[in-house]
Symmetry: C2
Subunit: 433 residues, 2 copies
């Protein structure tokens, strides 16, 4: 399962940077349950349920792949204003499984909606009828293997029995563990903020850690809030805040057929209604949502397969943000840059190579390059005081910052990635064996 | 220097596939010399000279990087009809070395042209005056390090003394060894053909083996022929034949600042003049040139850093060649596909993932996938007789063929790549240490 990044991620300085999640507790209107459906032929949890007893507003962004997994197709087909449950399984992507895979989603949604409707009758004063269209799915794992519908169906009753109406951080952690594949760490994040005078929570969980790529909703990420926000405003907030968070990370340049980031709002905080994302009352929520997404995105990268270094690539003063993004990802996706970082080799020539191959027009006389605060190239020339020993020392850090100044405009973009190690190969060459 | 692929490449079946080079001998009008200029602080040859005593017509294609090495800038600036010498050094790319790096090219060209002019006076009945503009350079190695002008200058006299007016295969081999960096094998290829009734030779050498990427002249490749062909026709022939050879290979998706493929024609075969590439007399030459380029390109891939498998990706029945190429390279550049191949894991779902992320519009009901002759997906569905054990057995082959049928048109494209192994990381993490 890759190298152990426990200390790496748990260190105080890193958590300070990535944000805390220690205080995740109860989020009103949400219930969580996770269980082992034996999908890995082991006792590890691999199936998680998020249940919104009064339903939740929601929005999702999905993979840009031209091949969609069957659960994503299912999710896209459900026309509903409220989601009552999100089910996530690991081990099997339900992708390229054809109509049978799609029918599995339908069968499971039918059972869950029926059982949850029964539960409503038992638990609620005003029970609601939950339909299969109120259920959506996240799937992750191997593509092209038969979806384990029977194994999952066997466990639905237990999964629903396991529902807790309040959560603490251990319940959150258990759910985050259940959705992991080659991740070595559960990924959680939280922020609190205000909408008007009302305090609201934003909680998130995510999984990586291969097939993490630049465009669009990458990996699985789920955000939960007790704020009351319409589907339309949630959609706009999610699209806006994904750009410099989950769309700014890259592990190996690959895209899955299953990528999915969703946000669910239970409305229990009873804040004043937000009609538009231009409403000033949403500003603090908007920023906090960005923090949660960025926190999760960084955790996905830091736990990227085989990662030993966390790499931040800042591209400054580009003509357009698009250009800055192109250059950032050209560096982040270069196998030669990433292996040099793994080897702690300050081989900055490879960064220059990656800038050159990005295809962005450059004025070399204005190009500057720093590793951290260490100037290497200054306006197109190797810096007079550049000393390779200093750079070699810098490369021993766990966090590497590559700062590129294009000197052609005023637009910036930051991309996050990790190094490329032998461990990545090991994990991916032996993934199924 | 990477794993030893001697047996891999030397096997009869592989050489049959890639074409022979055992018979390289003398090519009229060309002289070859190679030497150690101590650029690696070792005795290995690292400097090669190709000398055309009567000049040669020529054409080149260069990297598409926005950052050009100083030798490429030099080459582009020389306006001349004839080249008298091509000088290639390993170890240092002369890239991002600024004006000083450019001046090094000028200084070396001045010395070489002066010494070769003196040699002309000694050896030739009708001595020619060779100018610095008649000299071009190939450089390969680390970017951003000061160009070793002094070390090279010290050896020019010996290099010229070493010129042999005839070559045999050992002289060719020695030159091919001198231009290697992380290559584990010299790369040579040859074909003989006819223009009209005249027999002509086409010889080539190349080097890989990192920074091999799809677009344009990748790696260094030099083709020599005794045919008499104008610069204009050479240019057209080279551009045309590069598309399905050097532009159809990928090792790691990176592009160097130094990529260069050139063709030189000495004219000694005295064939009838070719005015246009539509001339029927050029047909056999055109095909043979393609064979030489493809042979070299395949050798570059087979010797890609850390390679243990040679992978051919055939994309059939695409709407456009551009689409077929996009899909081919999306598969060839997928780290997840390449690591699965390294692990001999028939994880065909990753190929599906790579097809999906290519961005090409698909009709899934028409998509088929084979590993070799083994059908896995047939018109969008997992093939009834697909058996993973057969596929696992197939993956043990040294040559892996991935055959994708898009079923949307009639265009095909073939891409060549290799697997991604721990050895790749080792080579590139430790490249300079």
């Amino acid at each position: 399962m890759g190298i152990n990044l426990t200390n790496f991620l748990a260190s105080k300085s890193r958590n300070r940077k990535m944000g805390q999640f220690q205080d995740l507790d109860h989020l009103d209107g949400l219930s969580v349950s996770s269980i082992s459906a034996d999908l890995y032929n082991s006792k590890r949890d691999d199936l998680a349920m998020f249940y919104f007893r009064d339903g939740a507003n929601f929005a999702s962004v999905y993979t840009r792949s031209k091949i969609l997994s069957e659960n994503i197709k299912w999710n896209l087909n459900q026309k509903t204003q409220k989601i009552f449950s999100l089910i996530i399984n690991a081990r099997n992507a339900n992708s390229f499984t054809g109509e049978a895979g799609y029918r599995s989603m339908q069968h499971i949604a039918e059972i869950i909606s029926r059982l949850l409707t029964e539960k409503q009758k038992e638990d609620e004063d005003y029970p609601k009828t939950i339909k299969s269209k109120n259920i959506i799915f996240g799937c992750t794992g191997t593509i092209g293997e038969k979806f384990p519908e029977e194994k999952i169906k066997l466990k639905i009753t237990d999964l629903i029995k396991g529902i807790k109406y309040t959560q603490n951080k251990y319940i959150w952690m258990k759910a985050a563990l259940a959705i992991m594949t080659t991740d070595t760490q559960p990924k959680l994040a939280m922020e609190e903020c205000k909408i008007g005078n009302t305090k609201v929570k934003i909680y998130g969980i995510a999984k990586g850690s291969g097939m993490i790529q630049p465009n669009m909703a990458t990996t699985l990420g789920y955000i939960f809030t007790d704020a009351d926000i319409s589907n339309e405003v949630l959609k706009k907030l999610l699209k806006k805040n994904i750009e410099n968070t989950f769309n700014a990370i890259s592990c190996d340049g690959d895209t899955s057929t299953n990528d999915m980031i969703s946000i669910f709002s239970t409305g229990k905080a009873k804040n004043s209604l937000i009609k538009t994302i231009n409403d000033k009352k949403i500003k603090s929520f908007d920023e906090s949502l960005n923090n949660v997404l960025l926190n999760l995105a960084k955790r996905v990268v830091a736990d990227g397969e085989g990662a030993t270094k966390f790499v931040t690539i800042n591209v400054f003063n580009s003509k357009t943000e698009q250009d800055a993004k192109k250059i950032g990802f050209s560096i982040a996706n270069s196998a030669l840059v990433k292996t040099a970082i793994a080897g702690e080799d300050p081989n900055w020539g490879r960064v220059i190579m990656a800038i050159g191959k990005s295809g962005v027009d450059l004025n070399l006389n204005k190009l500057s390059l720093k590793f951290g605060e260490l100037t290497i190239v200054n306006k197109g020339k190797i810096y007079d005081h550049y000393n390779e020993n200093d750079a070699a020392k810098y490369m021993k850090n766990l966090d590497i910052n590559i700062n590129v100044d294009i000197g052609k405009g005023k637009k910036n973009f930051t991309v996050y990635t990790m190094d490329l190690t032998k461990e990545y190969i090991k994990i991916n060459a032996d993934y199924r064996s």
